[in-house]
């Protein structure tokens, strides 16, 4: 019975144009679009530093970590140079931007860095992303320096240098070949995470099919002499198969055709996709059972969860750091955030600890969704249909 239902569930899913589009075609289309959008950034060899300005006001001068970082990123003798930076006052920075002499400028006000740009583009995205990263690092350095110096004393330059060393040594497993391109690969990782989340949509459809209060076909299945657990599990297994197949194809496409770097071995990459898909399928099952509304409305909820998760995880312009600061717990419980972070840790770190934390979190979340959904499902007869 399991295989009979599995076979037909798979057949119907593969013949459903809308599901095939969202599950198989859409992530590929987005991957190609991302590749076109980030083509210049993606090619390390042709990346060239661009003109920016930094407002050297009092706050900038006092922020040693920030100043050091921008000096390093602007050093034309360094391989890591990103910017050709002019250190000017505010009026001059405004004028340079108005005259299109620079892509944007950075200034510090109220102890927070701000970026001013005139237009949106790749360089502007890089400037914003790097500034956010530097800001995060600078905050850590500042905190450590103050702690080292004691609350009563102003940290000396030596203390700042020590603090910067501590911060850089705090992440000893950073791979040597991981460059400033990390915000770009995050875009691709969130895309894989979003593709995993299509599993929730599949799961909503497959769960609805089995339950008499959710669909007419569900009524027909419910009166058959087949266990609900068998029809549901076989259907979900079919959806999972389809999703894993599409994810493997997407990952191979990204890696072999688009040249996206993942860092880890292929099995770890697939394993994370498998765990992410599982959490999405369980989420879809829970939403399908728990939400007392029609399938369309449930799919809208799935799309919202997926898109908001993707936004928090870093899709659409590298907002990850900003959201990590504002709402740090979201990416710790969001499947999209965990999948993205899992891939990022594979790419960025030698140590697999963070990867397995993300993997384990996904499995725990899947288990929680599963338990909540099955508790609802155990009410096998309904008050109304």
């Amino acid at each position: 019975m399991f295989w009979h239902n599995y076979k037909y569930a798979l057949r119907t899913l593969l013949k459903s144009k809308s599901l095939v589009f969202w599950t198989l075609a859409f992530p590929f289309i987005l991957a190609i679009l991302f590749n076109l959008a980030f083509a210049r950034l993606h090619d390390y060899d042709v990346f060239e530093p661009f003109n920016i300005a930094v407002v050297n006001n009092d706050e900038f001068e006092k922020n040693v970590a920030f100043k050091t970082a921008f000096n390093t990123l602007s050093d034309d003798d360094s391989d890591e140079q990103l910017f050709k930076t002019q250190f000017v006052d505010m009026d001059e920075a405004e004028r340079l931007l108005d005259d299109d002499k620079i892509e944007g400028f950075v200034y510090i006000a109220d102890a927070q860095p701000h970026v001013k740009i005139k237009t949106n583009g790749t360089n502007q995205t890089v400037l914003k992303s790097v500034t956010e990263q530097v800001s995060q690092t600078a905050t850590m350095v500042e905190e450590i320096a103050k702690s080292e110096a004691g609350n009563s004393e102003q940290p000396t330059m030596q203390i700042y240098l020590n603090a910067m060393k501590i911060v850089s040594e705090a992440e000893p497993n950073i791979k040597e070949d991981s460059h400033v391109m990390n915000m770009v690969v995050i875009e691709f990782y969130t895309l894989i995470a979003m593709a995993c989340m299509q599993g929730a949509m599949l799961s909503v459809e497959l769960t609805n099919r089995c339950l008499p209060n959710l669909s007419n076909r569900g009524k027909r299945v419910a009166i058959a002499p087949t266990r609900k657990s068998t029809t549901l599990s076989s259907g979900l297994a079919a959806g999972y198969t389809m999703l894993l197949f599409s994810l493997c194809a997407l990952i191979l496409f990204m890696r072999l055709v688009l040249g996206v770097e993942f860092g880890g071995n292929i099995w770890l990459i697939v394993l994370l996709a498998a765990a992410g898909s599982l959490s999405a399928m369980m989420l879809g099952m829970l939403l399908s059972v728990a939400l007392k509304t029609n399938e369309g409305a449930k799919n809208i909820v799935v799309v919202i969860v997926s898109m908001v998760g993707s936004l928090f995880a870093g899709m659409f312009g590298g907002m990850k750091i900003y959201f990590d600061n504002m709402l740090p717990f979201v990416n710790k419980i969001s499947p999209v955030g965990l999948i993205t972070d899992g891939y990022y840790s594979l790419y960025y770190y030698n140590d697999l600890g963070r990867y397995f934390v993300n993997l384990g979190s996904l499995l725990i979340i899947s288990a929680i969704f599963f338990i909540l959904a099955t508790r609802s499902l155990r009410r096998s007869r309904y008050d109304s249909i």
Partner: protein, 312 residues
């Protein structure tokens, strides 16, 4: 004949509303039982309770001598249901749909293939077996819906308005198929809004209203409950209000109506009502083109008992 279904004191409420109120019924082996009632009378709720799809507040339901429950798989294996709403997969062909639903009951592939062919033949879809549901007309789609519900050769079949919105050819095909199922030994519970189908098909009829059985019996037994004796219909081009009121004075007349040139006169009793009517028309020099008398139908009985037309 033994009872296939026994329902005793079934009660089911939705908050304050009693959808089924202390209902008891039996269905005998091999019969076609018509379950009639206006919308909201409790037909579908009763069916869903019998099928263990709905929780109920009180009562006992047994099928084939065993208590019905969601996990009574041995009972479920002998039941087929054709729901009012078409429930098929657009992504599967006609054959694929029947094979899928049949496969929930029959695991052996060879047996299933034979059953699917039999079902296709029964509903007359042999030539459409490779088509997809969206390529079928409304009537053919209904036939597919039926085939999906009965392909596994159930002993007990629930048919919930299977002929809604189908063309006459498909309806005839469906009705013939249902008769064949009965002839093959199935017990059938049939709900419909079409009274003529009940008269053609059903061995026994139960009329429900407000969750209670208000009448039960064969077609003739139910017709005998009617208070009217005869209905006389006359096609008259024109009638004045005075002439119309004159009909009410004819002996045994219970009700008179005139609409679109058709005069309907209901007689509560009496044996020579048609002759009396003709005599009245002649003596009052009222010209008419056609006149005929009818015995009460099930629809009249239904109207009298529930105060509603079946199709309301």
């Amino acid at each position: 004949m033994k009872n296939v279904i026994e329902v005793k004191h079934l009660t089911k409420s939705y908050k304050q509303n009693k959808a089924v109120d202390d209902l008891s019924l039996t269905v005998k082996e091999g019969e076609i039982l018509g379950l009639l009632g206006p919308n909201g009378s409790g037909k579908t709720t009763t069916m869903n309770c019998i099928l263990a799809l709905l929780k109920f507040d009180d009562g006992k339901i047994s099928i084939f001598g065993k208590e019905m429950a969601p996990d009574a798989y041995d009972i479920k294996a002998k039941i087929g249901v054709v729901f009012q709403e078409v429930a098929v997969f657009d992504e599967l062909t006609v054959y694929g749909n029947i094979d899928y639903f049949c496969g929930l009951y029959v695991e052996d592939k060879a047996t299933r293939a034979q059953y699917v062919d039999d079902a296709l033949k029964l509903v007359g879809l042999e030539d459409n077996k490779n088509q997809y549901p969206k390529q079928l007309s409304g009537g053919l789609l209904r036939r597919l819906n039926i085939a999906c519900g009965i392909a596994h050769k159930p002993k007990l079949i629930f048919l919930d308005e299977p002929t809604v919105a189908v063309d006459p050819q498909s309806r005839n095909n469906i009705l013939e198929g249902i008769k064949k199922l009965r002839d093959d030994g199935a017990t059938i519970i049939y709900t419909t809004h079409y009274m003529e189908e009940v008269e053609i098909l059903c061995d026994r009829v139960i009329i429900l209203d407000h969750g209670k059985i208000i009448a039960e019996g064969t077609n003739d037994e139910l017709k005998a409950l009617a208070k009217i004796e005869e209905k006389v219909t006359v096609e008259v081009a024109d009638l004045s209000p005075k002439q119309l009121s004159g009909f009410e004075k004819i002996k045994n007349v219970d009700a008179v109506s005139y609409e679109d040139g058709v005069l309907k006169v209901v007689f509560g009793k009496g044996k020579n009502n048609l002759a009396e009517m003709i005599e009245y028309l002649k003596s009052n020099r009222i010209n008419y083109s056609r006149i005929f008398a009818e015995r009460p139908t099930l629809n009249d009985v239904f109207l009298e008992l529930t105060g509603k037309e079946l199709r309301d």
